[in-house]
Amino acid sequence: MKKLMNAADAFVDEMLDGLVAAHPTLVREARVVRAAHAPKPGKVGIVSGGGSGHLPLFTGYVGPGLLDACAIGDVFAGPSVDSCIQAIKAGDGGRGVLRLYGNYGGDRMNFDLAGEMVEMNGIRTTTVLGTDDIASATPDEAAKRRGVAGIIYAYKIAGAKADAGADLTEVTATAQAAVDACRTIGVALSPCQIPGAAKPTFEIGADEIEMGMGIHGEPGIWRDKLRSADDVADEMVRRLLADPITDKSERVSVLVNSLGATPLEELFIVYRRVAALLRKDGRTIVRPLVGHYVTSMEMAGLSISIIHLDAERERLLAAPCACPFWRV
């Protein structure tokens, strides 16, 4: 796998340098990216973080109405405890900080440790974990599910809630409700490679796809010959709709997300089918997203996320926000 890069050890830092050079609304401090406006006094802070290699996630979603700061690790490795601490401090405007990130063991330990440490500085924190990937555990073990693309809905909704002046408890509850209302499933066609690694993250035949594979190549539900876009979309939507959700609603938003190499053309072919299926299921799509939102570098494949919207979530989704990769 060819990459346009320099030394592998410099990959993340050079990437971050370029990101903030191109986007002056972002400020970099070591392995933390914060919004130029952060911390915003009187606003609940929202902080996220995770491994590199998923742009626009995580650092790309820093901005008004979204995240205040992000801790970022090496490619596919969590941020260090220090970075987590630093990000929480950068996001703290005096009303506490929500830690909103994906459910991965390492990240959880680090953000938890960091949370305890900043408490000594008098910063109140709460946690909401992205757990949208239905392929990563069964519904009765839903708390074990990993967080994937759907987390950006939680960013947007919690971000708007915080912007509206809600307190930490309210922002946390809103974020948790957004996670609870959102489900994602992915399909992978080809792997990616960690800079400096000797080989790709997984192997897959030239004519195979894997349903439910995770964004780091975690094993999925089945692997088989490539099928038509409609067949693949049908199964993904069926699985998403079948997964139990307490608060299903007629109005949903949908994210059809490229894992990297899969082009917009294919995303739109799939979106067309997803839209038809949801219509047939009696649902109305609000503010769909189609594009590169949460990737795994050059991995080919896509994910579909569906979030059920109550009136408040729909309003928060429509509230203004601005980051380099998503603007309302």
Partner: protein, 201 residues
């Protein structure tokens, strides 16, 4: 002879060298059921620890605190954070002391085990580094000398590795590979046993 800051400095150098040597094996082990980065993470981590350890400090708590700081800023991997937890636990337990006895080691390891379980949510039997630490802690419970401890710890580690190989991983990334993890060494356990062998030698 008790464990002093010099013992730690010596151990840190050995650990750094052992981690560098073990890098490829650990990456390969992790590559079979995780993301293949245990080795490179551990090498970087122990490079940072060896560099961070203060040269003329006798307070074990302060020495461990320096190690913990290096870990906290140097890595975000699961195992790396567990090492951080271990260092913090040791720092708290040895604050103000310039030596500890070999007979205390088992108890210290037991608190590390407990802290790791509290932090990481692993249960005994999940086939993680925690299971090995648990085994080594028990084995050290009745050792009073360095020689006894060395033999007992290494035997316990090897036994744990052998015993768990036939069982499935039940935690984290590896959990998702389910039955396919049977027959494979857990990379965290493998890492611990390699470091132990190096430090004990």
């Amino acid at each position: 002879m008790a464990i002093t800051a010099d013992t730690l400095r010596h151990a840190a150098t050995r650990a750094r060298d052992a981690a560098a040597l073990a890098q490829d094996d650990l990456n390969a082990a992790d590559g079979r059921l995780g993301d293949g980065d245990t080795g490179v993470m551990l090498r970087r981590l122990f490079e940072a620890v060896a560099t961070a350890i203060p040269a003329h400090e006798n307070d074990l708590g302060i020495v461990f605190q320096a190690c913990a700081r290096a870990c906290a800023s140097g890595t975000g991997s699961s195992l790396g954070t567990l090492v951080t937890v271990a260092m913090m636990t040791l720092a708290k337990a040895t604050r103000g002391r310039s030596e500890i006895g070999w007979d205390e080691l088992g108890g210290l390891l037991a608190s590390i085990r407990d802290q790791m379980m509290a932090r990481g949510g692993a249960k005994l039997g999940d086939k993680t580094v925690v299971d090995m630490i648990d085994a080594v802690a028990s084995a050290l419970a009745h050792c009073a000398t360095r020689d006894e401890a060395t033999v007992a710890a290494q035997k316990a580690a090897q036994d744990a590795l052998d015993a768990f190989r036939a069982r499935p991983n039940k935690l984290g990334r590896a959990r998702m590979f389910g039955e396919r993890t049977i027959g494979l060494d857990d990379p965290g356990m493998l890492a611990f046993s390699r470091l132990l062998a190096a430090v004990a030698a």
